[in-house]
């Protein structure tokens, strides 16, 4: 009996040292402790022994079982350890990752701008790029032949002249959405952002013939200049950073009265004045209180309602955060440029 036990232990040790992987090791469990394992068979043979030899045999078998379990457990732990330290890992080497794409700077800005104004209840709308003269100019208090139209250097479309809406143009600003929005919503409150491509006949280091503008329009019963200021401060502090407040300067647009140019505090000199800015401020865009004639074009009563509107170039707004030497880079689509963002 004792010799048989010794043999079983030795065989088991051999098998354990040979087990290299998890599967062959797990199989050994059944071999050692299962119904038809050697130890179990030995236990069955106890009944064949003489009465006085049985207790000693039983104890020996139990002791062997415990020893086997211990060896098994040890081997289990050492396999675990080996599994963990099997490969040599270089933590500074690149991982296996997915290649991400890139969004254009303009889209990233559009995303941020939309989100900021959404917090104030402005919805995002979209209006035609090829539009009628009526929506681009006439409904905005710029009658035919008015010199104010010269300010925009408009592209004209080769198309039939509509008896009511006039010529077709490539809209030079997003303001063509103002009266269109009023016609759709009909009754204030109106809060909308219109972001679109715009077109003007000029190209140089700070102008491209196509660019993006974002327009805001708010029409309601009690609208005042301080709300306009507050809205701009909300946008600039969220988009550019805290402390980046705005100021208004008198200006002139036919479709707003009073009209303003909006500046944002220069981040380089923080308002003290430097080479880059104009006396501490950077020009952002134009704005104003909606002209009563524009409200009338949108069939909204100017005695009951008032509004403010603003239109800012997106490329210019981006350039204030990300300095670019030439605005034309936006549309050259060099992948080495696009992949920086």
């Amino acid at each position: 009996m004792e010799e048989k036990i010794k043999k079983i232990i030795t065989q088991a040790q051999e098998k354990l040292s040979q087990a290299k992987d998890q599967k062959s090791f797990s199989d050994l469990y059944i071999e050692f402790f299962g119904k038809s394992s050697p130890l179990n068979n030995l236990t069955k043979e106890i009944s064949k022994l003489a009465q006085e030899k049985r207790p000693k045999a039983g104890q020996a078998i139990n002791k062997a079982k415990q020893q086997l379990e211990k060896l098994y457990e040890e081997k289990k732990q050492s396999i675990k350890k080996n599994l963990n330290s099997a490969k040599i890992i270089d933590v500074t080497a690149s991982g296996t990752k997915r290649q991400l794409g890139h969004l254009h700077l303009v889209s990233q800005a559009i995303d941020q701008i939309t989100e900021i104004f959404a917090k104030l209840g402005f919805s995002l709308q979209s209006y035609p790029e090829v539009d009628f003269d009526y929506y681009a100019f006439e409904s905005l208090n710029m009658p035919a032949e008015h010199p104010a139209r010269d300010d925009w250097e408009t592209f004209f479309i080769n198309a039939e002249i509509d008896p009511k809406f006039g010529k077709q143009v490539l809209t030079p600003h997003t303001s063509n959405g103002q009266v269109r929005e009023m016609e759709i919503v009909k009754k204030p409150p109106i809060r909308m952002i219109n972001i679109s491509r715009c077109y003007r006949r000029q190209i140089d280091v700070s102008h491209t013939p196509m660019f993006h503008q974002f327009e805001g329009l708010l029409v309601d019963e009690n609208v005042s200049i301080d709300q306009l200021k507050g809205t701009f401060d909300f946008f600039t502090t969220n988009f550019f950073g805290p402390k980046r407040v705005t100021r208004l300067r008198p200006h002139h647009f036919r479709f707003t009265e009073p009209s303003f140019e909006v500046d944002v505090l220069c981040d380089i000199c923080e308002g003290k004045g430097c080479r880059i800015c104009k006396g501490g401020w950077l020009e952002l865009g134009g704005a104003g209180m909606v002209h009563p004639n524009v409200l009338k074009s949108g069939h909204i009563d100017p005695d009951k309602y008032a509004g403010f509107a603003f239109g800012w170039g997106i490329e210019r707004t981006i350039s204030m955060k990300t300095k670019l030497p030439d605005i034309r880079m936006f549309y050259q689509n060099d992948l080495r440029f696009l992949e920086q963002f």
Binding site: Q125, V130, D220, S224, D226, H252, E257, D334, E339
Partner: protein, 676 residues
């Protein structure tokens, strides 16, 4: 429009102790913006932007007036003094007078005509006048010509001087030109006039292109002994039409186009005579001619305080509003709840309604003095447009490894040629900037292929996308401007472009079907591309691009693309996701292998199986291969079928039955040979 003003000149009329920089800051905050300040010796030159509605501020006096109103309203000590000689009695200085016969054919062309004849001594102007002209970028010529320019800069009113002895018959008739009439202007350019320009003719010839430039034949020269001083106003619209027709504009025309103050004309003439007497030994030798049939009147504008305070967001003291308007030259009348104001003559054209008064009061009060608060009204219940969804779609594409580009919507005639859309159907510009920007593009594919070509020397694997509008002419009305998503890849792999398309539809919540394009397409290769449909609606195309377009951009390798009409897709209702009970019973999964013709689409095979068996819940293509051992033009397809029931596990009998049905239908309808 920009104007340069030496501060020393400004200080002739604006009396204040404030430094130039301080004056500039006040002006910028409440009036015309001082964009730049240049130091010139002891003096400064202001470079000021004056908006087009404020021709009254486009002069030294105009700026002085504005500055005085702003300074005094802000509690700063300031005084406005008038130039000398603006109210002379313009009587002849001699009894031997000459007579100028002036006739206006239509007062609408020229609402005020003033003229006077002077005996003059032509010589150089004094240094002060010459220096001031030079500081404003105008070349001094002689005292009389210099006076006309000096007056224009000082008062904003353009004026002209003629050599009286060159006016034949001492007669001037102001009329409209006939088409093709000719005049040689002061710059020695011969101009052929359109119909309707305003001109002056003496008894024989044209002597003036009114409002724009005088004639060479009547100009002041060294030999001039007698000069006509000439100050007018013209119809702004006619002046503008004429400058546009001739593509020729002058400083004078710029001012006339905006309209001048009729009440300022005589004082300006008077000042010019005063200067001529001072620096050219002038003597008045004719009666004053002043043809002014309809006096310029300002209307009365009423502004309710309730509206003013509503606009400003604060309550402003009525006394303050009176003070501000008065400092700007308005005549005011204060009532209990409103103010009535009459604009000064130099603002007649600009002030119309109550909001115009609000602007005057608010800007002088100072926008920086108003608070900053958020809007208080209700948030409208308005849906975002599709653009909102586009933002999400772009982000999805970014995480799917695509890089966004933005290309110009206006393309050249040459690029239009690559699109397959004729010039007749394309939207064309009547005034293109250059040949590069002439048509509105009907597809994004050409533009994106160009980007691939431009970048191909830098990178081998390019996958770019753009979401933008395309433009197609309609029979009437605005062109169709649908939003498109276009992806172009440089690896020319059909399954990769189809793969990214499938990802896009997952992001959009749609399911599409694909059918092969067999006919010749201008953009896509036949048999290497497919039309994409959602239900019955065609929403796009994808596949390998035609060599016609890749050759045009000198690309060596195959290029693949997909173009989807997002406007159409967003109009369709999306698939909604609902809960399907998860079966508690395990499915039976089996593989079937069969040999098909290589032309048999996988879509047809799965459709056939789905048609014939309701028990099959999922079909997965495990393997496809071709091998000459299978036969000519044959492929082997292995499909993994999942048989599943809601209420029990399918029995072996049920599965056998289904399998038999499937095998039979594949063999019969698709001529397959099922492998055992």
């Amino acid at each position: 429009m920009n104007i340069k003003i030496p501060v020393s000149w400004l200080r002739d009329y604006l009396k204040t102790d404030l430094a130039a920089k301080t004056i500039a800051n006040y002006l910028t905050a409440s009036g015309p913006s001082v964009e730049r300040m240049e130091k010139k010796g002891e003096d400064f030159i202001f470079d000021i932007e004056v908006t087009t509605n404020r021709p009254d501020a486009f002069s030294v006096l105009g700026i002085a007036r504005e500055a005085h109103a702003i300074l005094s309203s802000n509690g700063q000590k300031s005084e406005l003094t008038a130039p000398k000689g603006m109210d002379l009695q313009l009587d002849p200085d001699t009894t031997s007078k000459v007579t100028l016969d002036a006739q206006i054919t239509d007062s609408k062309l020229c609402p005020r005509f003033t003229a006077i004849v002077l005996e003059v001594k032509i010589q150089e102007s004094p240094a002060l006048i010459k220096n001031r002209l030079i500081a404003c970028d105008i070349r001094p010529i002689n005292n009389i010509v210099d006076i006309t320019n000096y007056i224009m800069l000082e008062t904003g009113q353009p004026m002209h001087a003629f050599d009286f002895d060159k006016i034949e018959g001492a007669k001037m008739v102001l009329r409209q030109s006939r088409q093709y009439e000719k005049i040689t202007t002061l710059d020695s350019q011969k101009r052929i006039l359109p119909k309707g320009a305003i001109v002056i003719q003496d008894s024989k010839k044209l002597v003036d292109l009114c409002g724009i430039m005088g004639g060479e034949n009547s100009q002041i020269s060294k030999r001039t002994k007698r000069a006509i001083f000439f100050v007018q106003a013209y119809d702004p619209f006619i002046i503008r039409r004429t400058t546009q027709a001739l593509a020729f504009r002058t400083d004078a025309a710029t001012r006339f186009e905006k309209g001048v103050d009729l009440e300022n004309i005589l004082p300006t003439l008077s000042r010019s005579v005063y200067l001529a007497k001072k620096i050219a030994g002038a003597k008045i030798i004719s009666e004053l001619i002043d043809i002014y049939p309809k006096k310029q009147e300002s209307k009365t504008t009423t502004l309710r305080f309730s509206k003013l305070n509503k606009y400003l967001g604060i309550e402003i003291n009525p006394t303050k509003t009176i003070q501000i308007l008065t400092s700007l030259g308005f005549k005011t009348h204060l009532e209990i709840s409103q103010i009535k104001a009459v604009a000064p003559s130099w603002r007649t054209n600009d002030i119309d309604t109550d909001v115009d008064l609000i602007e005057e009061i608010a800007r002088i009060y100072g926008y920086h003095n108003l608070p900053s608060t958020l809007p208080v009204g209700q948030v409208p219940n308005r849906q975002d447009s599709d653009l909102k969804k586009v933002i999400a779609l772009k982000n999805a594409l970014k995480y799917l490894g695509q890089t966004e580009v933005i290309t110009y919507s206006i393309i050249s005639k040459e690029m239009l040629g690559t699109t397959g859309v004729s010039e007749k159907k394309a939207v064309e510009l009547t005034n293109p900037l250059t040949e590069e920007w002439q048509f509105m593009r009907p597809t994004l594919i050409s533009s994106l292929t160009e980007v691939v070509a431009k970048n191909s020397h830098l990178k081998s694997a390019i996958s770019i996308f753009e979401i933008a509008k395309t433009y197609l002419k309609q029979k009437s009305g605005l062109p169709v401007q649908d939003l498109f998503l276009t992806i172009v890849q440089s690896n020319g792999d059909f399954y990769k472009i189809k793969g990214i398309t499938e990802n896009v539809f997952e992001a959009l919540g749609q399911k599409a079907t694909y059918s092969k394009i067999k006919d010749e397409d201008k953009l896509f290769q036949a048999n290497q591309s497919a039309t994409v449909k959602i239900g019955d609606t065609q929403v796009g195309k994808l596949g390998l691009l035609n060599s016609a377009i890749t050759d045009h951009f000198e690309l060596q390798n195959q290029i693949s693309a997909v173009e989807l009409n997002l406007s159409r897709i967003y109009n369709l209702s999306t698939l909604s996701k609902s809960f399907h009970a998860i079966s508690k019973f395990s499915p039976v999964i089996e593989d079937i292998s069969a040999i098909f013709s290589i032309y048999t689409p996988l879509g047809d095979i799965t459709l056939e199986i789905k048609k014939i068996s309701t028990l099959v819940k999922n079909i997965e293509v495990i393997d496809i291969f071709e091998d000459p051992k299978l036969g000519d033009l044959k492929k082997s397809v292995t499909l993994r079928l999942t048989y599943q029931k809601q209420n029990s596990t399918p029995t072996q009998q049920e599965v056998n039955g289904e399998r038999t049905k499937i095998i039979k239908s594949l063999e019969t309808n698709l001529r397959a040979k099922v492998r055992k």
